[in-house]
């Protein structure tokens, strides 16, 4: 019995090898959208990222040219070991070529390690940690949409130059919050601003009243929220009750997505400042994509910058595959090709991928409109400043990525 099974296995293996020799140009691709489908990041990534991946497959036009491209998705539950296990299984069993999205920095770093080990490809859109292109960069990972450095520097320097030259920070008391505050402070000082003070609050705080009163009393022009998720939205809601923005102060959220603004509502979110790399209402192309996206989304939401990043990164990946003439199933080789080719897509415009895996494109400082300024549903942002691509992200000479050292 056993020998029969092994004979069968051997036969299958031989058949596959033969098939591979016969069709040296393999045109099958499997895309895995790994995201938080049920937790706090499911609105900014989640099912929308899977949809964005499918749209990229359709819009690439490769299926018409004889390519066979599948998209599968999974929920990493915001647990690094679950994410790492799914990634490993995708490469070992399901023969996935590329993993996209992956919000949550801890999960993203875990997945990045597995992808390097398996020589796959990882294009991160959902996570913010700039470690992906610094200390923990790999030849198989590209970080597409945004990172914490860009958020902190974008908001910090652009807002200071726009007149918000005195700052007060509300910082979540953990490594991420401290990093955001530190990076933003550097940018504010470099742009000629001053930091009047700051206060740390515990993670997952529900009562911000005393912190907000101190922020109000500081008379700083800008109150920077160096926190994320529920802390940011709680702080914004309570700041609206305390009338911080009506009192002439500006609120700057250092990590916020359009899905959060939508959830908060314009009444609460009005006057908020923050940086993003994509907004649906930028130009005809972004509007066209977003309308199509919205129609196909189950709850009819507009794409976030993370969704846009998944779409545009996959388009670039498919271009690289086409240029290679087939799928070599060799992650590092494809990523090298992707870095070599300049990027150009309808959503982020022209850009490039740096040797450390950082995709660079312009970033935008937005302000949330007041309810009277908004002309319709999802008309949320007005553009305050554009940060050019070469200033938005970590300069290459400051990157600690080991790929850069020769």
């Amino acid at each position: 019995m056993k020998s029969r099974i092994s004979a069968l296995l051997l036969g299958t293996v031989l058949a596959f090898t033969a098939a591979n020799f016969a069709f040296a140009q393999d045109k099958t691709v499997k895309v895995g959208a790994l995201s938080d489908q049920s937790g706090l990041y499911s609105d900014l990534g989640g099912p929308g990222s899977t949809l964005a991946a499918q749209m990229a497959v359709e819009d690439s036009g490769l299926t018409g040219k004889g390519w066979k491209i599948d998209v599968i998705s999974a929920d990493h539950l915001n647990k690094p070991d679950v994410g790492a296990n799914i990634a490993r299984q995708w490469f070992d069993v399901d023969k996935v070529d590329i993993i996209v999205d992956v919000p949550n920095s801890g999960v993203a770093l875990a997945v990045s390690n597995i992808v390097k080990e398996k020589n796959g490809i990882f294009i991160d859109s959902g996570a913010g940690t700039s470690d992906l292109t610094n200390a923990q960069c790999t030849p198989n990972t590209i970080h597409w949409t945004y990172d914490t450095y860009m958020l902190a520097h974008g908001t910090g320097s652009a807002l200071t130059k726009n007149g918000g030259d005195t700052w007060f920070f509300l910082t979540a008391d953990y490594a991420f919050g401290a990093a955001l505050e530190r990076d933003t402070t550097t940018a504010v000082l470099a742009a000629g601003g001053k930091v009047l003070g700051g206060i740390k609050h515990p993670l997952n705080t529900s009562d911000f009243s005393s912190f907000l009163l101190q922020a109000q009393a500081s008379k700083a022009k800008v109150v920077g929220l160096a926190n994320a998720g529920g802390d940011t939205t709680n702080a914004i809601k309570q700041a609206a009750e305390f009338g911080l923005t009506q009192g002439g102060q500006k609120m700057a959220a250092l990590l916020l997505f359009i899905s959060d603004v939508h959830a908060l509502g314009l009444n609460t979110a009005q006057g908020l400042n923050f940086t993003e790399t994509f907004y649906w209402d930028m130009n005809d192309q972004t509007r066209a994509f977003s309308k199509r996206f919205q129609e196909r989304m189950k709850n009819h939401t507009m794409p976030t910058m993370v969704h846009a990043g998944v779409y545009s990164s996959l388009l670039h990946y498919f271009k690289a595959l086409e240029a290679l003439g087939g799928n070599p199933h060799d992650g590092a080789k494809v990523v090298a090709k992707m870095k070599e080719m300049p990027t150009d897509d309808p959503l982020f415009g022209k850009g490039s991928i740096e040797p450390n895996g950082r995709k660079i494109h312009p970033a935008y400082l937005f302000e949330v409109k007041t309810p009277s300024e908004s002309k319709g549903p999802w008309d949320y942002y007005k553009l305050l400043a554009t940060i050019p691509a070469d200033e938005a992200f970590t300069p290459l000479d400051k990157s600690t990525c080991s790929l850069l050292k020769k």
Partner: protein
């Protein structure tokens, strides 16, 4: 307080025979996994959680102590092992020892505090201590906060077992699991285990018989915590990362869930429960947001329809002791 069910209280020779047979079947099934085409990493992950749930079950199922903070042992051992392997460059076997010892030390300290109270207060104290630890790990530099310790090297066990080979790693993890499992098995069927059970059934009576119940409870707590830590140290090699998830209270909840689904107070229940829960996380991942809903439904069905848990019901039906 004389509610004793025949499937929980062992009755000498027949019990041990049933359990030995079941143990044999389980061992054989686990030994042949690499030849069946089942994905080994899934089984390894499940084995680590199975050992963890068994350790937890030793405390609740046999000692009657509901610890709601067992994640702290898992996480502490994970962090310490991960740090030892990655930063200090220790070989795997020493990494496991260091991690397990850290969990044991933690169990001594937390045990001394927690066993002074019973029932809900015991659960609350363990929960409070584990939350305390969670926030310490959130802040301490060596854990890298919410990013966790990543890319932990697997290395060579005893200098010649290449742990980056999935099959080798599988058998090492399996050996670790069986070792821990046998230790628990032995403990339960020892005089020490009998005293533990008597404490569970009626503590004042055990005291009146002359047992220093606090000593027994503390020892059981330390043993349970150490084994949970051992599971955490093994898990480091499987997941190659150590993160805050492992010390979060939801992980403690998951351990309770595994034990309940499998069967509280049965030897094999936690193993089955761990496999069921991990399989759901892994194989239902494609269902996206439905995973948590399905888990909830399974839990509700379990609590309503088969209170003894999967193994408990089977054992009850066939009048076996498992």
């Amino acid at each position: 307080m004389t509610v004793t069910t025949d499937n929980i209280i062992p009755v000498a020779a027949r019990t041990v025979r049933d359990e030995m047979i079941a143990f044999g079947i389980m061992t054989v099934l686990l030994l042949i996994v690499p030849f069946t085409g089942i994905y080994p990493f899934f089984v390894m992950q499940a084995l680590c959680f199975a050992l963890l749930a068994c350790a937890f079950n030793l405390l609740i199922g046999y000692g009657g102590l509901l610890s709601f903070g067992h994640a702290m042992f898992l996480g502490t051992a994970g962090y310490v092992s991960g740090h030892a392997l990655k930063v200090w460059g220790l070989p795997p076997e020493l990494g496991i020892v260091v991690g397990t010892l850290a969990a044991a030390g933690l169990a001594v300290i937390t045990g001394l505090i927690a066993i002074r109270r019973q029932g809900i207060y015991f659960a609350m104290i363990t929960l409070a201590l584990s939350q305390l630890l969670y926030f310490i790990y959130l802040q301490t530099p060596f854990t890298h906060g919410e990013d966790g310790i990543q890319g932990i090297p697997q290395g060579y066990m005893f200098g010649f077992l290449n742990l980056s080979n999935p099959t080798v790693l599988y058998y090492v993890v399996l050996a670790g699991f069986l070792l821990g499992f046998l230790l628990i098995f032995r403990t339960i069927n020892s005089p020490f285990g009998e005293v533990l059970k008597s404490i569970r059934e009626n503590e004042p009576r055990a005291i009146s018989l002359g047992y220093k119940t606090d000593h027994y409870k503390l020892l059981a707590f330390i043993l349970s915590g150490t084994l949970a830590g051992f599971a955490g140290a093994l898990k480091v090699f499987v997941a190659q990362n150590a993160s805050l998830t492992d010390v979060h209270w939801t992980m403690s909840g998951e351990i309770v869930l595994m034990t309940l689904v499998g069967g509280l107070g049965t030897i094999f229940g936690p193993v089955v429960g761990a496999f069921v829960i991990i399989a759901m996380e892994q194989y239902l991942a494609g269902f996206g947001q439905w995973v948590t809903v399905i888990q909830g439904v399974v839990f509700v069905i379990c609590v309503l329809a088969f209170r003894r848990g999967i193994v408990g019901e089977v054992a009850h039906f066939f009048r076996l002791s498992l």
